[in-house]
């Protein structure tokens, strides 16, 4: 039976609620409210993982998000498993299974530990230097070997079964951090009518003050923890204040846009979680932000400072005072400042053996006096030069320091311990402040970077702003909040605060040692195993910029982003280079502050909600008739309708023949439709299309080509003149929104004098397009009162009609080259219209066809598809569509560009037809076209834009853009493919019915 380290009473845990969990397969117990780290420590487990590079045993160092070592894999054998979870943040729950990472076969015995012994030959930049040559070994040897040893933890192999979602939140004031300054700020803010949100990453408020039991720290003559506890009770009932627990801020962007992750079920047992959201990402817009993110304690940098049992002094204090867990039976505190004395006094009070090693000569504060009075042994002016113990610290060696602190003198003193609590002072958590674009300044007196100028409406308060003593924190928090919120007074103005004040301080980034640096291992980045030695090596090799040193040595590049010891790296660089730290700057802090799982980032945008889908009114019919769908923009369009075991090719061939031989029907509802009204509608169309519109008769339709101002084809479609001042424009499916926006742009900015109104009616109408020689017969059945002949209803005209008393419009227009009609009806009747057409067409074998057949049929006719046969570099002249460009019109969008020297060049790429010498060979769309395969470098003349096997011509046809193509008709060209070269001949691009006889057939 292992020793129980939870010997102490605590009011912060629910001791009636005992919880079992598994760690590395072994069962342990803890209490509700424990973190995995505190529960393991209470069971005497310190060793958690192996380090990344040298596989050194590592233990729990901290009690928060800065933890570099105690990162574990959560989850058992199911599909839910999460790597890289900090044991110091994970609350235990019934059934929790966790395991060590980066070790094989086990954390106790790890084969990779050999790296520790060969570490002299794997210095910083080892990988960069070693695996450069010989090049051929990279794929066969180096990469597989590196991949095997790289990475922390295992990524899940199954889709994440958990639920995540997103929510927006708007507030007047957001307070980040529920420590004493955050609580005071939230209280002041909400009391003054501000809609306030307070977020706290832990499960309770109070920060480190809530377990501060020291008599030196008093507010209004009460212990600071007692006073704060009362404040917390009060703020929980404030009506303007929302408090979010277990919510950590991930990112702080400009305009006070912040992202925070709320953990909803990670602390609950598995059966309490089913079908509940695991995490929620809050997208917060705050008018004002108050950062109260606190500070984290710095480690000290000395030889072998990474053994399990070496912990931050403040964390040791939290484990005792908050969790009731002692981290060792024989504790040594190693410090350069007063705050660690609070830990010593706490330990001493609870009867736990403790002594202190202090690099300072003396200190005269109340805390130090109390420690002395309690009889705690203090080694002044000493430093630790070595630690011993493999899986857990066993002893340390200390030596006296020289006067200037650069050396050690005298003889070594060996001290036995099972815990070493280190404290190198405090680093304000300015990560979020700098993420938002804020600039830092360096305070020389205690060597900290603190917020200087912010880019948005925000302040930093408390220790994240560089205030470390209770009286300063409270006084400055109140006065800063008053300024920030424009208040003349607050309920806290008369607070009386007492605290111990630190008078002596001393900071040495890299502590001296009796051995040369090369023989020691003073770790800076515990997760990535970079040492002070690595930093110095990088400096010797010429790296100066902190950003470069970071990447070369990987310092600060772990999942903890080097929160603990980045400052020491900076300090060592500045000392070595002889540059002031303030001018060196820091590395860039990037979001997320702590890692986010992908599930949180994507929220519910998975599966059905991965992308938006638009459906036509006839969609259900297509679906029930087994259509395959194609994504066109966000639309789901029927692609083809396979019968029984038909392949796509077979279905398209069948549909294409049917449409030309008898009748086909296409759902054209996705085409963009814009209603244009106003006395200047005709003039407007004159300006936006290349051809002339003024003379288009009422009831007539016309095809139009729209250019960009640079003369390149932008969109096309048929526009119908419904009445004198009313047109209905159609656009391509994909271009609809952009065309409307572009037209609005011209109306609002360039031609505000025009009396024109545009209204999108794309979704208002459903469109069924019936084509083929029998289309007329089908329409006759549906609309018996209309005379369907070329005189009464010629090609390119429209009629209003009624179908069972419902108004609709019939346009006689064609994209297939066949006699064809498009019927527009209010979209609620769309499906019904389609069914009527199918019924009426039954005797003519009316065949529904999809987009693929539509593409094939129009390719036979040489009609372009904007976006397929054009790519933003094709003018109408390049497309051999000179006929549609008005020479008479004074101006239209893009006209001037058609006369630029470049667009008038005769050898531009131009649209042509291509016929393969072997009529059964189908070209691949996108294939390159060349004249001479042997010429080096080979000259690309162009590429295939559309290619099909035409069932109506019984041969393969293709459209292509080819350099100087207009002059190449009859020219033999080559299309080289991976395994063969295809011979082709340039042809006319209208392959079928070039006289347009079928339109009136």
């Amino acid at each position: 039976m292992s020793e129980n380290f939870r010997s102490l009473e605590t009011k912060f845990l629910d001791k009636t609620n005992r919880i079992s969990f598994k760690y590395n397969g072994k069962k342990y117990y803890g209490y509700k409210g424990d973190t995995l780290a505190s529960a393991l420590l209470s069971n005497g487990v310190h060793l958690i993982g192996r380090s990344f590079k040298y596989h050194r045993p590592r233990g729990i160092m901290t009690c928060g998000s800065e933890e570099p070592n105690a990162i574990v894999q959560i989850g058992g054998s199911g599909s839910f498993t999460e790597p890289n979870v900090r044991a110091t943040e994970q609350e235990i729950y019934e059934g929790l299974e966790a395991s060590s990472q980066n070790c094989w076969p086990s954390v106790e015995f790890d084969v990779g530990g050999i790296n520790n012994f060969i570490s002299p030959v794997i210095p910083a930049g080892f990988y960069y230097k070693t695996f450069m040559w010989p090049k051929k070994l990279w794929y066969s040897l180096y990469e597989p070997a590196i991949r095997l040893s790289a990475g922390l933890g295992k990524s899940p192999t199954q889709p994440d079964p958990e639920l995540y979602d997103h929510n927006h939140l708007h507030c007047d004031v957001l307070v980040v951090g529920g420590g004493i300054s955050g609580i005071i700020a939230a209280s002041i803010s909400s009391d003054n009518g501000n809609n306030t949100v307070l977020i706290e990453d832990k499960n309770s408020l109070g920060g480190s003050t809530i377990f501060q039991d020291d008599e030196n720290f008093k507010i209004n003559d009460e212990k600071s923890s007692v006073w704060l506890n009362n404040q917390i009770k009060k703020i929980k009932n404030k009506k303007n204040l929302t408090i979010k627990y277990r919510t950590s801020l991930a990112a702080y962007h400009s305009y006070n846009y912040l992202l925070a992750r709320e953990n909803l079920t990670d602390h609950k047992s598995l059966n309490e979680r089913s079908n509940k959201l695991r995490q929620r990402l809050w997208k917060i817009r705050a008018k004002k932000v108050i950062l109260a993110t606190g500070a984290i304690e710095r480690p000290l940098i000395f030889n072998n400072n990474d053994r399990p049992g070496v912990m931050l002094a403040s964390s040791v204090k939290k484990y005792i005072d908050y969790f009731g867990v002692r981290c060792g039976n024989k504790n040594i505190i190693f410090t350069n400042n007063d705050s660690a004395y609070e830990t010593a006094i706490s330990l001493n009070k609870k009867g736990i053996n403790v002594s202190i090693v202090d690099i300072r000569n003396n200190s005269s504060s109340m805390l130090v006096k109390n420690a002395k009075d309690a009889g705690i042994k203090i080694y002044w002016n000493h430093t630790v030069v070595n630690t011993k113990g493999y899986r857990r610290i066993k002893s340390i060696e200390i030596m006296k320091m020289s006067e200037d602190g650069t050396n050690v003198i005298g003889s070594k003193l060996n001290l036995v311990c099972d815990n070493l609590s280190i404290s190198g002072g405090w680093t304000p958590m300015v990560h979020l402040f700098t993420q938002s674009g804020g600039k830092l300044k360096f305070r020389d007196s205690d060597q900290v970077f603190i917020p200087n100028t912010a880019t948005s409406d925000q302040i930093s308060i408390g220790s994240c702003n560089g205030d470390f003593e209770l009286d300063d924190i409270i006084k400055n928090t109140i006065s800063d909040c008053k300024n920030f919120l424009s208040l003349s007074s607050t309920d806290f103005d008369l607070l009386k605060v007492n605290c111990s004040k630190q008078k002596e301080s001393k900071n040495i980034w890299l502590l001296p040692n009796d051995k040369p640096l090369g023989k020691t291992k003073p770790f800076l980045d515990f997760q990535n195993d970079s040492t002070a030695k690595d930093i110095k090596l990088a400096m010797r090799e010429g790296f100066r910029s902190i950003e470069h040193v970071k990447r070369y040595t990987t310092t600060g590049m772990g999942t903890d982003q080097g929160k603990l010891a980045n400052m020491h790296a900076l300090g060592i660089i500045s000392e070595t280079a002889g540059v002031k730290m303030g001018s060196l700057g820091t590395t860039t802090f990037r979001p997320p502050y702590t890692p986010l799982t992908f599930g949180t980032i994507v929220g519910r945008n998975v599966g059905t909600f991965f992308d938006i889908t638009r459906k036509t009114p006839m969609h259900d019919w297509h679906e029930s008739h087994k259509a395959k769908f194609e994504n066109v923009g966000q639309w789901k369009r029927a692609w083809y309708y396979p019968k029984e075991n038909e392949s796509m090719y077979q279905a398209v061939q069948r549909e294409s023949k049917a449409a030309r031989e008898s009748a086909g029907i296409l759902d054209a509802s996705t085409l963009g439709k814009i209603d244009i009204k106003g006395t200047d509608a005709s003039e407007f169309l004159n300006r936006v299309y290349t051809n002339a519109w003024s003379k288009l008769g009422i009831g007539k339709c016309r095809y139009g080509l729209m250019l960009n101002e640079d003369g390149m084809v932008y969109d096309d479609g048929v526009t119908t003149r419904l009445s004198e001042n009313n047109y209905l424009m159609t656009t391509t499916t994909g271009g609809a929104a952009n065309v409307l926006s572009k037209l609005e742009d011209y109306l609002q900015t360039e031609w505000p004098e025009l009396d024109v109104w545009l209204t999108s009616v794309t979704d208002h109408y459903a469109t069924a397009s019936v084509c083929g020689p029998n289309s007329k017969n089908i329409l006759k059945k549906l609309f018996p009162s209309i005379e369907f002949n070329d005189v009464n209803f010629p090609h390119m005209s429209f009629k209003n009609a009624e179908l069972d008393g419902i108004n609709c419009r019939i346009m006689r227009i064609s994209f297939t080259g066949e006699h064809s009609y498009e019927i527009n009806i209010e979209s609620k009747y769309g499906k019904s219209l389609w069914e009527k057409c199918m019924d009426a067409g039954k005797e003519f074998n009316i065949t529904p066809y999809g987009t693929e057949t539509m593409h094939l049929l129009r390719a036979e006719k040489g009609f372009i598809i904007v976006g397929q046969d054009t790519d933003g570099t094709m003018t109408p002249i390049d497309l051999q569509m000179d006929w549609i460009v008005s020479k008479k019109k004074y101006d239209f969008i893009g006209k001037r560009s058609l006369y630029r020297s470049d667009t008038m060049r005769e050898d531009r790429k131009q649209l042509v037809g291509l016929l393969t010498d072997n009529p059964n060979e189908i070209l691949e769309e996108g294939a390159q076209i060349v004249l001479d395969e042997k010429k080096q470098p080979i000259e690309m003349l162009g590429h295939v834009t559309s290619s099909y096997f035409s069932p109506n011509l019984n041969k393969s046809i293709a459209l292509a853009v080819v350099k100087n193509g207009k002059k190449l008709k009859g020219q033999k060209l080559l299309v080289p493919m991976k395994d063969k070269t295809i011979n082709v001949t340039v042809s006319d691009f209208i392959f079928f019915d070039s006289k347009n006889e079928r339109l009136n057939a």
């Binding site: 674009g437 926006s741 360039e750 001037r896």
Partner: protein, 91 residues
């Protein structure tokens, strides 16, 4: 993501808007009178400065109106918003 104050609808999230490039580039009334160079200047040349820039924005998912924005491209700070056809406010 910044917040843009649409001159018609008020403060809205950036995702409701689309950007339309540099403002105050007037389409020539008589393009055919221009030389290739003059036309190319209208067509292609944009300032794209780091600092305070005059831009066009469209409240695409709101009122669909185009308007002008004075924005500092170095920190996304918006100094002013004004309607099409209005003169930029003097600072």
């Amino acid at each position: 993501m910044f917040i843009i104050t649409c001159p018609f609808c008020g403060e809205r999230d950036q995702s409701e808007f689309s950007a339309g490039g540099e403002a105050h580039i007037v389409r020539p009334k008589q393009p055919t009178e221009l030389s290739d160079d003059e036309w190319a200047d209208f067509l292609f040349m944009r300032k794209n400065i780091k600092g305070v820039q005059f831009e066009r924005w469209n409240h695409a998912h709101g009122c669909r109106k185009w308007f002008n924005v004075i924005r500092d491209t170095s920190n996304d700070k918006i100094h002013a918003v004004y309607k099409m056809g209005e003169k930029p406010p003097v600072k």
